[in-house]
Structures are given as structure tokens and as C-alpha cells.
């Protein structure tokens, strides 16, 4: 099959057969990024609707303007998106879309990220010519537990209708009535309560659909978008973290066609709250002679942990020590943990991963973002550690996180009560603190540089979006300092996540050529096989 070439405003594009002009621009990464073809109803991950009529372009040899979203490419096609006719058509659509719009931007939460606002400024008319009253419709409609709907602001692009039909397949929404009496509503008796419902707020180009969680929290122009990864499960959905005042206000899905298209599940979206909410471990602790966990500086707690470990290993050898890795930590943290255990001579280790429900779309059974990374690093199932604990062969345990408490064989925190030394590195408080001898606060994935490996072995970048208001280091840094205190050779250089990443890529075969700086925003697949064994 010979390639199809089309020209759009002087750009030459090589495109595959069967694509439309707008799809071809999107495939080439040019849409709204070099070639601006404004559009409302078209969405790259939904079926073509062709009804908003805003994406009309001029195509040589075709007498009428054509909608770019639904016009199939032909070899040699020449498309112009900025002619006077196109401009007039866009102006016409914009004027008509505003005939019934309430123009309530000052009190609308979408203002600042509203395509109606943006395109009206860019392509619309300055003065309204309407003398007639605008449609008075329902306000503050609760379509379901997550979404609030303003019927007056809706421009009837039907993206949300198609989303519910085509992505979760639940089809709760429809457009009822006809003509300018058309309204979006849920079908009688239906609620918009599918597990992906909040995506409709992202794809709604106007302020009609907003999430109950985010609306009126902050004006979006105060938010900085920091690219990151959802940590709710091992799918590793790409998100932008909306940050202001050193606080994460929301996750919105960031497009990655290899991972999550443009979607995220509601549970994952809401998991941003675990970053700043109560329950974080905000202070290091060291158990005193009376058996009380006393607050301590991180530095002194690291020293106390090293001293306990050192004593134990000197007395009984490293064979009585075991390590439990966290699937929430970054690859760099986990690699450092692996080296830490090696230096200490500890052979017994595993990774604890909570398992839960999965679905056919995005949600994976492993409820942590980096289980595959831990496995690629050589951490086996945590059951081998638990077996040894139960057999009485373990006296000292270094724990990352508290997911191990979900292992039924452990018998809860009581299963660790008799251990001589329990050292816990964690982002959050847990029952482990009842038995821990030292607890060390560490950073969440949204608070540090690093990479995470998703269920399919794609290594993706995280970076600090917020700074903890308390003293906390990444797991890797805590371990590095502990190693230094234990006298490991070369561990006195201080924590350098880039150096660790480079060393990981040279040491672990699956990570060959993959570093924090080489994965880019879209991530890169591991060199070797990895993934969910179940």
C-alpha cells in the first residue's frame, strides 16, 4: 500500500488510509500544536460525531467547507485551515453557540480552562447581537455522586454521552428533546455513577459538567500542572497534578495512548488525597527503653535504626534479618534497598503487594504503582519472608511501607511482636508503629524524583509536585544514610537519584538503557519481561 500524503497549511503529512483530516493532524502531533483546528464534539478517543461544525476547513477541489473530523484523507489532498471562509464559518459557529449560553464566566468554575471561552476570544464576535431571552434551564443538577451539571452551559457536543456509551459502556446519558429545546440528561431512573464517571468533566469543553470534588476549590489559573503518575494501582495512569500553595488539588488524566488513553478511574483520580491528607507519617520515631515510641529527628532515627541493625547482625549474623520492599516506592528507591540488603548480607526479602478488583479498562488487581519494578529488581513474593518469620528464623525486619499487613498469613501486626528489631520506612501511619522500633517518614511518589514500572513493564517518570511540610526523605535517601551509618563503603556520597538511576540501568538487565532522564513523558518499556505474574 503506497503511503498517503496530504498538505495542511504547508505541513506535509504522511498518513494512514482511513484516517480523517483531524485524526491525521492528531496522529502527527500537530493538532492545536502548529495547526489549530478548533473543535468541540470531536475527541481523539471517542467516535466521530460531526455535529458541532466548528472544525470546518477548506479542501482544494471541494466546493463547500468540510468538517475536518469526518473527512477521510485522500492522497494529494490540500487542506487550508486559515482562510477567510474558514474564519467566517468559525465565527458563525461561535456566535450561534453563545446565543443561548448564560455567559456567566465570572462565576463558572470552568473559566480559565474553558474551550468556549478560549475559542470565543480567538474566533468569535465581540458583541452579542441577540435581543431575545436565553434558555432558562436546570442548574446544579446532581447527575450522580461525582458530577454536577449546569444545563444552561451545555453546548450539546455529546462527548459525555458517547463516553458513557463507548468507554465504560454504561450509557447513562442522553440528549432529550429536539432543536433548541435539546437537553442533556440521565435516562429516567439512571444515575451517572459508573467507576469512570468523572472523566466526563475532563472532556466537557465547557462548564456544564464539573466534579463535586474539585469545583470551587480554586481558580484553575492558580494551578501548576505537574506531570506525574497515579499510584492507585499498577496501571500507572498518566496524570497532571494540579498544584498550588504546595498542595495537590486534583489529578486530571494526561494522555498516554500506551497506558490510559485520556482516561482515569474515579478511585485513582481521588487518590490524590492520600498525598496531603491526615494519616501521613510526619515525624520519625524511636522506641525508648520503656517501650514507648518517642518522636525523633530523622537523622537520629536513622542512626538508631543503623545501631539496632548493626547490633543484631553482629550478634546473630545477617541470616536473621529480612527485608520487605514496597511496591509504592520508585525503582531508584527499590534498587537502593536491594543494594542495602546485599551490603548487609541479607538474602531473605520480598515485595508486599495488595491485590484487589480489576476491570477490563484500566483498573489492575495490584494496588500499587511499582510491583513490576520490584519484581524486575529481583524481589520475590513476600510469602517467603512471612514463612521465615512464622518459623522463628527472623529476628530483624526492614519494612518499606505497610502493605505486608494485608498478608493474611502474617496474622496482623501481632505476627511481628516478638521480633528483636523492626524498622519501618513509610509515607503513612499504620498499625506497624505498634511494634516498630524505629519509624522513618518517607516521601510519596508525588514528592520526589524517580521512576515507576507499571504492570506492563513501562517505566514512567515522577517528579516532586509538592514539598512535605515535615522532614521526610525518599526511601532511597533514608537507606543511603543508614548504609553510611552502617559503614558501607562508598555510601557516604549522599543521595543522588540520577546516579542511582544510571547505576540501576547498568546493573539490572531489564533496565538496560532506561534512566530517569531517558524515559521521557510517555515512559519506556523495560528491556526484559516483567509484569503481573497472576
Amino acid at each position: 500500500m503506497s503511503p498517503i500524503r496530504i498538505h495542511v497549511d504547508g505541513h506535509e503529512l504522511e498518513v494512514s488510509e482511513g484516517r480523517t483530516v483531524l485524526q491525521a493532524l492528531d496522529d502527527a502531533g500537530l493538532l492545536m500544536n502548529g495547526v489549530d483546528v478548533p473543535h468541540y464534539c470531536w475527541h481523539p478517543k471517542l467516535s466521530i460525531d460531526g455535529s458541532c461544525r466548528l472544525c470546518q476547513v477548506e479542501i482544494e477541489g471541494m466546493p463547500k467547507l468540510q468538517i475536518a473530523c469526518n473527512t477521510p484523507v485522500r492522497d494529494g489532498m490540500v487542506v487550508h485551515t486559515l482562510t477567510e471562509r474558514v474564519r467566517r464559518a468559525r465565527e458563525g459557529v461561535m456566535e450561534l453557540l453563545l446565543v443561548n449560553h448564560p455567559l456567566d464566566c465570572p462565576i463558572c468554575d470552568q473559566a480559565g480552562e474553558c474551550k468556549l471561552q478560549d475559542y470565543a476570544y480567538e474566533w468569535g464576535v465581540e458583541q452579542a447581537r441577540t435581543r431575545e431571552p436565553r434558555r432558562a434551564l436546570k442548574k446544579n443538577v446532581e447527575l450522580g455522586p461525582t458530577i454536577v451539571f449546569d444545563q444552561e452551559r451545555c453546548i450539546l457536543c455529546r462527548r459525555c454521552v458517547r463516553f458513557c456509551r463507548e468507554v465504560p459502556g454504561t450509557g447513562e446519558l442522553g440528549v432529550f428533546q429536539r432543536g433548541d429545546a435539546s437537553v442533556l440528561e440521565t435516562f429516567p431512573g439512571a444515575k451517572l455513577d459508573n467507576p469512570y464517571s468523572m472523566n466526563v468533566a475532563d472532556i466537557c469543553p465547557v462548564g456544564a459538567l464539573t466534579t463535586r470534588d474539585f469545583r470551587f476549590k480554586i481558580r484553575v489559573w492558580f494551578l501548576e500542572d505537574v506531570p506525574g503518575i497515579c499510584t492507585g494501582c499498577s496501571n500507572g495512569c498518566n496524570v497532571d497534578l494540579g498544584v498550588a500553595n504546595n498542595r495537590v488539588y486534583r489529578y486530571v488524566p494526561r494522555r498516554n495512548d500506551q497506558v490510559n488513553d485520556t482516561w482515569i478511574c474515579d478511585a485513582g483520580r481521588m487518590s490524590y488525597r492520600e498525598i496531603g491528607a491526615g494519616g501521613r507519617l510526619r515525624e520519625a520515631g524511636v522506641r525508648d527503653a520503656a517501650g514507648v515510641l518517642q518522636g525523633a529527628s530523622l537523622e537520629s532515627a536513622v542512626a538508631a535504626a543503623a545501631a539496632r541493625l548493626s547490633r543484631l547482625v553482629e550478634a546473630k549474623g545477617p541470616g536473621v534479618v529480612a527485608g520487605v520492599a514496597s511496591a509504592h516506592a520508585t525503582n531508584e528507591d527499590l534498587f537502593t534497598f536491594r543494594r542495602f540488603l546485599e551490603e548487609l548480607g541479607v538474602e531473605n526479602s520480598g515485595v508486599a503487594v495488595i491485590r484487589g478488583e480489576a476491570d477490563a479498562l484500566l483498573v489492575k488487581a495490584e494496588k500499587a504503582p511499582n510491583a513490576a519494578g520490584a519484581r524486575a529488581m529481583g524481589f520475590g513474593p513476600v510469602s517467603t519472608v512471612i514463612d521465615r518469620i512464622r518459623s522463628g528464623a527472623v529476628d530483624g525486619l526492614v519494612l518499606m511501607g505497610h502493605d505486608v499487613l494485608h498478608e493474611s498469613l502474617l496474622g496482623g501486626v501481632q505476627g511481628l511482636a516478638r521480633l528483636d528489631t523492626v524498622i519501618v520506612l513509610d509515607t503513612h501511619q499504620s498499625a506497624l508503629h505498634r511494634v516498630a522500633h524505629v519509624v522513618l517518614p518517607v516521601r510519596h511518589a508525588a514528592e520526589k524524583h524517580g521512576t515507576l514500572t507499571n504492570h506492563a513493564g513501562r517505566v514512567q517518570r515522577v517528579r516532586p509536585a509538592v514539598e512535605p511540610a515535615w522532614e521526610a526523605w525518599s526511601d532511597g535517601e533514608v537507606l543511603m544514610r543508614m548504609g553510611d551509618a552502617l559503614g558501607f563503603v562508598g555510601w557516604d556520597e549522599g543521595w543522588d537519584v540520577r546516579a542511582t538511576s544510571r547505576e540501576l540501568s547498568m546493573t539490572v538487565r531489564a533496565f538496560a538503557g532506561i534512566t530517569i532522564d531517558s524515559v521521557g513523558e510517555g515512559g519506556r518499556p523495560l528491556a526484559g519481561p516483567a509484569g503481573d505474574p497472576a
Binding site: 469526518n70 458563525g92 453557540l97 429536539r178 432543536g179
Partner: protein
Amino acid sequence: MGLAVPYVTGYLSEHFADDGFASLDGYERRGGYQAARKALKMAPSDVIELVKASGLQGRGGAGFPTGMKWGFMPTATDKPKYLVCNADESEPGSFKDRILMERGPHQILEGILIAAWATGASTTFVYVRGEYEHPARCMERAIAEAYQKGYLGPKVMRSGFRHDVVLMRGAGAYICGEETGLLESLEGKKGQPRKKPPFPAEYGAFGMPTTVNNVETFCHVPHIVARGVEWFRGFGTGKSPGTTLFGVSGHVVRPGLYELPLGTRLDEIVFEHARGVPDGRKVKGVIPGGMSMPILPAGQLDVPMANEFLRERKTMLGTGGIMVMDDTTCMVRVGVVVSYFFRDESCGQCTQCREGTGWIHKIVERIERGAGVPEDLDVLLDVAGKMEGQTICAFADAAAWPVQGLLRHFRADFEAHVRERKCPFPASFEL
């Protein structure tokens, strides 16, 4: 017989006065189904070529060449192919398909059989306007008769050709007369036209290759097959051959149907056939082809009723529904009626149509109330211009054109409303 029989008949309607013509026996006694027998002995492609050569244009409003449309149906496909008989006649001013169904249903079925053979269609869906209770019964009776006689079913006329006809009733939406709006409705969905591509010949009813033809279009086909291209081209103009059923309504002495050759002059139809305006009044304007076609003023009725001539006067033949308005008529009120209709019937998916039809109606209604401002007239034309030619289907054009036509020829009526701040035509029809 009143309305049931055209005042002037032609080959389509010559036997409509005969009540028996609606039955299969009566139709066959008048030579019916001979053309279908003939066509079944021809190669399908030859039938298509014959219809192409005849120059038959669709009678549903757009005037698309019928043979060419049939030729779009794929031949190399293993999917079932479908025909649709569009009997959703809902254009205000049009009532020909109703009479064709009531008086000559077998003429339609014979046309369907020939078209089915030509296109390889296995089933025809006859989509009848919801309000057409009696025509639907007439069609149903004819379909049952044809099955009984073996003219429909597994072996049409003892050939190896199978064809089924299924009748489906609409639910009263104008937009379901648009061919893809019809297909959506046929599938049980909300009547909203589909974006094109894909066109129905590729992806039509239930996703299968489909051709949609108007009731009257089917009726011409048996005559073309029976009597040949040359005979057919003996009627009408070079570009627009054949007769059509003009429906005349409004301020005329003799409203009704008139089967006349295409190209018959509009003033001849209005003044001679329909006998002009009653009570010594004068014609003010005439809508030549159903409500969506732009109006012509009294001075422009000397036009042959064929698209190649009507286009020069910025209007079209449409469905041939001629609506005559006398000199008492307020053209702003006409605008209110027309724009309300299109506002009410717009399916609402395309921005320009959904918002434009409503805006236009509100402005025209305000002008009629005496609350118009001079700028309104230009806004009306501008909005109509922004709707025209930019939407999924031709509905927005159909809504824009009448307003443009009224302002083109009767701008003075609108200006008088604005100036006098009231309607200056007290004797006009009431809203």
C-alpha cells in the same frame, strides 16, 4: 372524487379515478406488473443503465439522478442490500405521495421490485409518515396481495429472485424524511441524520448497503421500463424529463394535484390549472416546491417548473408543493409560521441549525409583534447565511432558504412592521 384524483392526470395517475386500480387485479388489468416481468429478464446492470439514460431525477426534493444513485450500490458484497421507500412525506405543501399510496400502491411496489432487481436488494423498508394512517393501510393491503400472488417473497414471479417488503410507520418527525434520519428512525433510534461519509450505499439501514428513494420516484420506474427512455424523455425538459404531481394549495380556486410535465410554467399551473386566486384578489407570492423552497413574487411566476430554470430565480422544485398566497398575506407572518416549523423540527445536533432556527424564529416573531429594530433584517440574513451549507444534512438550508427568499422579495413587509411598530396587514391569516 375530490382530492383523491388529480385534476390533470398523466401516466402516473391516469387510472386513479378507477377504485379498482388500488387492487392487484385492477392494476394488472391496466397492464400492471408487466414492466417488472420484463425487468426480471434483463441484466440488473442493464436496468440501471436504462434508468440512467432516462434521466429520471428523484422526486423527494433534492432531484438527485436516480440511476446514478442505484449505481452507487456495491455489486461485490456478501452483505444483504436494502432499499427504502421514503413515504415520510412531511414537507408542508406536499401531498402527492399520499395519493400515490392510496390510489396506486401496486405502481409503487412494481417500481420497488424493479429497483430491487437492479440493485440486488433483498428487502425494501417502506417508511410511512406516522400521520398517514390510511395510506399505510393501502400499502399494507397491496403488500399482502403481492405476497399472496407470489410477486413478493422467496420466488418473485417464479424467478429465483427473493424480495421482501416491510412497512414501518414513522412517529411524526419531519427530519425522518431526510434519508439518514429515516434510517436511524427505522433502526428504532432517535431520528437524527447521520454524518456522511459513510453514505447509505455503503453503510445504510442496519449497517447494510442501502438506497433510499421517494415514493413517486419508484412510480416512474415501471413506465420507463415498459415504454422506454425515448417515450419518457418525451415529457418534461431535456434536463428534467418526465411528469410530476404538483400539489397546489393556498389561495387558489381549485387546490389539488396536477400531474404535468416538468417544465410546465408556474403561472400556467397557478392561473390556468388551479384557476387563480379567488374573489378577484391578486397573487402576492408563490412557494414553488414545498415550504423549504424560497418564495417567488407575483412578477416571477413565468418560470418553467424545472430545477435548471428555478435555480436562476434562486429557488428549487423541491417536492412540487406549490403554495399560493394572495395580496392580503403578511409575509412576516408567513415567516413566523415557517421559522416556527423549522425551529420545532430541527433535530438539534448541529450547532448552526439548533441555535439558528430558534434565533430566526424569535426575531421574526418579535418583528411581527411590532418590536423589531432595523438591524434585525440584516441579522436574519446573516444568521441564515451562517446556517446554509454547513451542517450534517440539508435541514439547515431548508430552514435558511425561506427566510432569505422572504427578505429577498418582501423586505418591504418586514420594514413596514419595524417602521409602524405593528403588523400592517390586518386582513392577513391569523397566527
